[in-house]
Assembly symmetry: C2
Homo-oligomer: 106 residues x 2
Amino acid sequence: MRRDIFQAIADPTRRAIIALIAVQAMTPNAIAENFQTTRQAISKHLRILTECELVITKQQGREIYYTLELDKMKEIDKWLEQFRQLWETRYSQLDELLTTLKSKKK
Amino acid sequence: MRRDIFQAIADPTRRAIIALIAVQAMTPNAIAENFQTTRQAISKHLRILTECELVITKQQGREIYYTLELDKMKEIDKWLEQFRQLWETRYSQLDELLTTLKSKKK
DNA sequence: AATATACGCAACCGATTGGTTTCTCAAAAT
DNA sequence: ATTTTGAGAAACCAATCGGTTGCGTATATT
C-alpha cells in the first residue's frame, strides 16, 4: 500500500471527488450521484483518499460524511514550492535581461 | 494513453527525475546514475514525462538532453489555486472569529 | 574501417489499478 | 417485527504500470 497524496490525486475521478467535498461534507451516495459509476467504485476511491489522510470521515447515524482535509492538500503546494522558486527567479532573470537590453539601446 | 501531468507526478521516481533536471538539463544516462535501476527504466519514465509535455528534449550529437518545462508545472499550481482560495478564506474566517472573541472580552 | 557508446523501441512479466458483482451489517422507516 | 436504506468488505476481472532483457541504429572514438 503505497498510499501517498500524489498517487491519490493521479486519478481524475478522485480529483473530482476532492473538488466536490471541498465545498461541503458529503456522503458516499451523494458523491456517487455525480458520477456514472457505482457507489462501490466511489467507496473505493474514498478509502484511498482516507488512507492517505486527504479526507476525514464523520459518522452520523448510518451516514458517513466525508470532508476534505485542506492541510493535507498543502503538502502538494509544499512540493511545488521548490519549482515555484525556480520559475520566479527565471522570470526575474528574464526581466534583468530585458532591462539590460533596454539600457544598452540608449 | 491517459498521459496527464497528475499521473506523471504520481510516481516517486518521476518526481525525483523532475527535481533533478529542474536544476539543469541532463541526458538519460546521467539521470540513471542517480537511481539504482536500468537506463531503460529511466528512459520509459522520460517518455511519459515527454508525452505529457512536462519535459522537452534537445538532441546534441548522439546525446539527448532533457529539460523540465516549468510552464507545464504551473498547471498543477493552477489546479491547486481553487483549494488555496479555500484554505485562505478559512484562515481569514478564523482570524475574524478570534478578533470577535477578543473584542467581546473587552 | 572496426569498435564503442548513447539512446530508443519492442516483447515480455508480475504487481497494481479501477471497476463490477455479491455479501453482510447496522441504522431507519414501515 | 419486518423491510428498506447507507455503507464497508471480499472476490473477481481486464487493463495498465514499472521493470527487465534483448535488439537496432546513429554518432563518436580508435
